[in-house]
């Protein structure tokens, strides 16, 4: 079975001579990303532990602004970096180890779009609800007491 492999990664920036070489190249890349994650996780630089942007107050457009920029407003930069790096790793595992790069675009979309859409939807719903329950427990007029 002669398979045609696409041998370039990073939008063609890096082109490998053979499939085996590409595999080792991707391994090195994934190892570097993991190492960055671990180092950041151990040292937790102070600059990345507090959000950089504060939420805006009042009005419809302020709310819209808060929603659009929510990853920067409500998430520590460190956590955002971790999540982005994880998605980068997931991309290279799927594209190069699982040969998604070599599949037809229809197969690729069928698998990736379906999963990404459903997972995003699920995460949005559950995290939204979790934040709401937190408010119910911790608001000024909360009727629930758990610290006794």
């Amino acid at each position: 079975m002669a398979h045609a492999h696409k041998l370039e990664i990073f939008q063609g920036l890096l082109k490998f001579k053979s499939n085996t070489q590409k595999i080792w190249g991707v391994l090195i890349f994934l190892t570097i990303v993991t190492a960055i994650e671990v180092v950041l996780g151990i040292y937790k630089p102070d600059a990345l532990m507090h959000t950089w942007i504060d939420p805006m107050e009042g009005g419809f457009f302020a709310t819209l602004y808060n929603i659009i920029l929510s990853p920067f407003i409500y998430m520590k930069p460190l956590n955002l970096i971790f999540i982005v790096l994880t998605i980068v790793k997931a991309y290279y595992i799927t594209w190069d180890f699982m040969h998604m790069r070599d599949e037809t675009s229809s197969l690729r979309r069928m698998v990736v779009w379906t999963a990404v859409f459903l997972i995003c939807y699920l995460i949005f719903i559950l995290l939204q609800e979790g934040g709401y329950v937190f408010e119910v427990y911790n608001a000024e007029d909360a009727l629930i007491k758990r610290d006794f």
Binding site: M1, I23, E103, S106, V133
Partner: protein, 333 residues
């Protein structure tokens, strides 16, 4: 058979059958569909974890304080190191798997055998590491007191490290004052025959309180995370008061009911998600072993294609993919 099949006159046309619009065989396509559905199962678990965490965002355990152990290095606090090692092992076994698939494309039986073998070894090391991680987590290290409200109170003292005041955890074993108490033990012959007595906590809250009273350096910290991202340390008076008035149960280690590291949901999700993932790794290793023997026996050589290796390879990479997310959301974020 031929007589039962009618000619439809559509042979060679788009809907006449026989063409593969996605360029993938039936088996590979079905493996992809399974992976999508399994990915949704895992994201359901992880999203539920996120839900519970958002619900208790101010008091969730800090993973760096929970997973600090490395085998053979007793008493050293090395957060992340061992999980990073496990992650690397799994990525490495993914690489040997993809090399096996590549060797299969070249019909190189010897190389497929070697790489499949290395993949199995990598998977076994990972499952073993996870078992060790579980054992360490279940055994616990410092112990804590659970309050009536189900919250956790932990012990430690303030020490100066490099001119900075740090909170250093102290194990309950180090300061507890044990008292001889008598209680009637439940046995099958003197009570309900179908009930056995549960394992008792190592100490009573009263013994802990006596020990706390005797050691004026020891403070209690609760679950609430303060602005510096650390757990709140109580004053000496408040420490004594909390244990005396609210302490209910001495906890050591974690299981599905209690958890010395913080909210018991953390332990529940840890067991559930890493357990489900570990089960996937285990089943992946078993399937890999079956395919490994098929390769040795020459099944795929005779079949003229190593596509079966590719299909289990997809599953194996998927297990690696899931771990990347579990690693992020359990140990990093």
């Amino acid at each position: 058979m031929d007589t039962t099949v009618a000619n439809t006159g559509t042979e060679g046309k788009t809907w006449g059958g026989g063409n593969r619009p996605l360029g993938a065989s039936y088996g590979k396509l079905m493996m992809w569909f399974f992976i999508v559905s399994d990915a949704l199962t895992f994201s359901g678990f992880l999203a539920a974890y996120g839900f519970s965490r958002f619900k208790f965002i101010k008091e969730w355990p800090i993973a760096d304080e929970v997973f600090t152990h490395v085998p053979f290095l007793h008493g050293q606090e090395l957060p992340m190191i061992y999980v990073a090692f496990m992650t690397f092992i799994l990525i490495m076994s993914s690489v040997t798997m993809v090399l096996a698939v590549d060797a299969g494309h070249h019909m190189n039986k010897a190389k497929v055998t070697l790489y499949m073998f290395l993949t199995i070894i990598g998977g076994a090391i990972f499952v073993g590491s996870q078992a060790w991680e579980w054992a360490t987590f279940i055994q616990g290290d410092y112990g804590a007191v659970q309050t009536k409200g189900g919250n956790i109170l932990q012990f430690g003292e303030k020490v100066m490290v490099d001119g900075e005041e740090k909170f250093k955890r102290i194990s309950i074993d180090e300061f507890v004052v044990t008292m001889a108490t008598e209680r009637a033990e439940h046995e099958r012959k003197n009570g309900l025959w179908f009930v056995t007595e549960e394992t008792l906590p190592p100490y009573s809250v009263e013994e802990i309180y006596k020990g706390l009273e005797a050691n004026s350096n020891i403070l209690v910290r609760n679950q609430i995370i303060n602005d510096e991202g650390e757990k709140t340390v109580l004053s000496r008076e408040e420490s004594l008061r909390q244990i005396k008035e609210n302490g209910q149960l001495v906890v050591k280690g974690a299981n599905l009911v209690v958890n010395e590291y913080g909210t018991s949901l953390f332990a529940d999700f840890f067991f559930f998600i890493t357990g489900f993932h570990g089960f996937h790794v285990f089943s992946g290793v078993v399937i890999n072993i079956i395919i490994f023997f098929n390769v040795i026996l020459g099944t795929y050589e005779r079949r003229g294609s190593y596509e079966m290796v590719e299909k289990v390879g997809l599953y194996w990479h998927f297990v690696d993919l899931v771990w990347v997310f579990v690693f992020t959301f359990f140990y990093l974020v």
